[in-house]
Subunit: 353 residues, 3 copies
């Protein structure tokens, strides 16, 4: 296991505990009593660590690993060297992740920076705010008029919750987060620097430049949403901006006004979604992709990293490229052009013939 | 209207007030006394709301809208169902926006988070700073040596104005903003998390790695500029970085050292502009576009989202693609390649024949 | 020189001081006693400023410059007008930068915002933190349990150093920076708004949505690294995220979990590097480039701006495009398609014939 100075080991789990927890099968000649207190990659795991193997790419590491036990994908079980304690599962990553969550509960959600529960005397909390029990508000955090914060939530240093916002239970509001014009559900995690609820970007031509289109909607963040560091989500103009239950948003993502994202979708770092676009449930959007305004991305669609989405994307489609189109077509075109240019049949060449 | 818990309705305007305010024409059989206190999209507006119609795309919503009145683009007036109160204008969005601004003045600029005007005892204000009347400096904000701040400006929680900066009147400096080495005009809005005036990015090869090129210029932000959340603007190296009057910059935009942006330009989210580039007046740059250093983008040019600008862009041009070229050429090439690849005339195929 | 209200002139250097400092050669009929107190571009420099000339693009400015002296690249020395005091060097930029660093030492690293050294009574410093001498911790900064901070370091307003982190000597931790689960070397500069050490982005499918993959690694930032405003670096999952000595990272860069960046590399603004990727030494990555996860970029490789790196990049290669390939191939393909589309030999056209 890598140096875990920030997440120390606890009592650990035995291999048979893991079988019970995850449904993985005990591998050949593997002692059920082996105790594991950590996790690590094959090349760094030690005798007290669980490791995993789900890609032949790392096959050369299997004979050399010092891991106490390895979770192996069923289809690769033939590659396991004799004598290496192992567990077998259809999806090794899922088992490995489940064990990781059990061994390191402190890594599941961001911790309070300062010790102690309660409202720091150095926080600025409006007397009209309604704070449930077991809420932590750290020094230099600000809670505005009429804000409601549910039990178990931590508002970290320097975070600002502006007037009228509602924050559910067991949320983690990271340092330097600013939330305004927004309602958050339960177990929402906002990593440091997230900015939610500021003005959307809307202007019309005016007499002496650009006139603002007022933005009077809200931001609704449903339960179990996680939003990465320095991401920004604008409030709605004349609708609400909505992030659906369980959706995970990575660092530096930008989401415009009136956007509605469905449930359990995944939006990777630096994606930008323009105003009034609808993203379905279970959608995956690769990093740095840009999505046009007023389009619809169907449930279960997958967009490759660095795509540029101009129009609607059908349910379950796999698209990529700029402008985005089915991934197969896009890659075929890329290869086609490469081949063509190599052969050099440009019109100019032909003229030269 | 969507739930407006954050921007409550006031007394509203009558239809005839709107005619007087905007120059819109009263529609057929529309009572001038109808009173409107809110705004909303066709599918959500109620009897006290103004809505608007400027795209046939939403024509099916017209017969079903419950809006008290609808502003209709003149060219679509034939689509208005009998009995629906309406106003007619050349540009429906402009009228709708003007009414929105009048009905919701509190949404025009970000509000102070905390109640009350003045300098919070929990702000850190250097005694040499010159603060005009009616300035609000919220808790945990920092104002450095010799800073000058004009009347009516709000410096929000956690914002830092470093030594020697000048901030004009009626500005809004959002929470967690950092401003250094900068002069700001009047009515400048910096949304939360904006960082202005840090070191530009310049290095030369040195004996033991990279040596810094010192950055001794400033950032000049002219009147009526608005800058989105978590955007970054570096100070100049041996010139100033300048953002011209009335220019609007969206969230997470990055502007490098020595860049000069003209007046009334619009720069959409996540755009990056490299050092020493000049952007003209009235330019529109679509989201996620990247602009090379040391190039000039002419007045009135429009760049499609996700473009990559390698060289100068002429005045009034519409460019797109990577590398950017006239939009028509770019789209023609995209379609051309698609067609060609579909037909499958790759050199490889030809060899196979 | 541009207005230098933020970086005032000092006593300056004579031309002969510069010769001694940099090894530049005295130009024809140039007085070694000329004293220079500032730096500036040819069109703005005055009699007390050093300027530089290394591109024929600005040749028309040479006869008109008012600069006290100009550093000229040797290959362009024939363009210098008679009577213009000048210095000659193989690399004019390197000489110019060396003089700039000597004349404006205050611009080398970010300054403390507030006057005075020491721990502000308004900072929140855990009693278990170990703070060496000559450390400045400004108001509203937070230093957590067991943190160690080395001599000469400045922790600016609102910065948060979470429990257990180690910060080396002479570091600059900018305002609103958040550091957790991290170890920093000496002379590290983090510009305002940088977020280091938050959760990487990892999920596996679960019963009721997405389950988290715990991230128990650290972030290691080696000596002399500089990281731009609002950049984000996630901590490792089961390895560490590492930024090697002397590497320079620009604003709004995103670096995922387990990424290892080598020494003296340069990563320009808004680049995104996905998890578990390895970047070598002396690599240059142009702005807005996206790099896939689990790939290796060899030492000395150069990636054009706006590239999309899908697979490994060889040592010393120059790649660009989406997906990235050798720059020459990429540009040839771009030109080839342009030519082809102009000639209009689309399959559709051929059918029409």
């Amino acid at each position: 296991m890598p140096d875990a100075s920030f997440f120390p080991r606890g009592d650990g789990l035995t291999v048979s505990d893991i079988v019970a927890l995850t449904g993985a099968e005990l591998g050949a000649s593997t002692a059920p009593g082996i105790r594991l207190t950590g996790i690590g990659p094959l090349d760094r795991a030690g005798p007290e660590d669980l490791s995993f193997f789900d890609s032949p790419r790392y096959a050369t590491q299997l004979p050399e690993t010092r891991a106490g036990c390895v979770v192996v994908a069923r289809k690769h079980v033939a590659l396991v060297p004799k004598g290496l304690p192992h567990l077998v599962a259809a999806n090794a990553s899922v088992v490995f992740a489940a064990v990781g969550r059990r061994l390191f509960p402190a890594a599941l959600v961001p911790a309070a920076v300062s010790a102690g529960v309660g409202v720091s005397p150095r926080a600025e909390v409006d007397p009209t705010a309604q704070i449930e029990e077991d809420v932590t508000i750290e020094a230099f955090a600000v809670v505005g008029r009429g804000v409601k914060i549910g039990r178990g939530t931590i508002v970290s240093h320097g975070a600002v919750i502006a007037a009228g916002c509602m924050i559910g239970r067991d949320c983690r509001i990271g340092a330097q987060v600013v939330v305004s014009n927004a309602l958050l559900g339960n177990r929402v995690i906002l990593h440091p620097g997230v900015k939610i609820g500021q003005d959307g970007f809307g202007y019309v031509p005016g007499r002496a430049g650009l006139d603002k289109v007022v933005q009077i909607g809200r931001v609704i963040i449903q339960d179990d949403v996680e939003i990465g560091a320095n991401a920004t989500i604008d409030r709605g103009a004349i609708r609400d901006t909505v992030i659906g239950e369980g959706t995970k948003i990575d660092n530096q993502v930008q989401i415009g006004h009136n956007v509605a994202v469905g449930r359990h979708s995944v939006i990777v770092a630096q994606v930008g979604i323009s105003g009034s676009t609808t993203v379905g449930d279970g959608v995956m959007i690769g990093g740095q992709t840009g999505v046009n305004g007023h389009v619809t991305i169907g449930d279960g669609a997958q967009l490759a990293a660095l795509s540029g989405v101009a129009g609607d994307v059908p349910k379950g489609a796999r698209w990529g490229g700029i402008p985005a189109r089915p991934v197969r077509e896009w890659l075929r075109e890329v290869r086609f052009l490469t081949d063509l240019a190599k052969k050099g049949r440009s019109p100019r060449n032909e003229r030269d013939d």
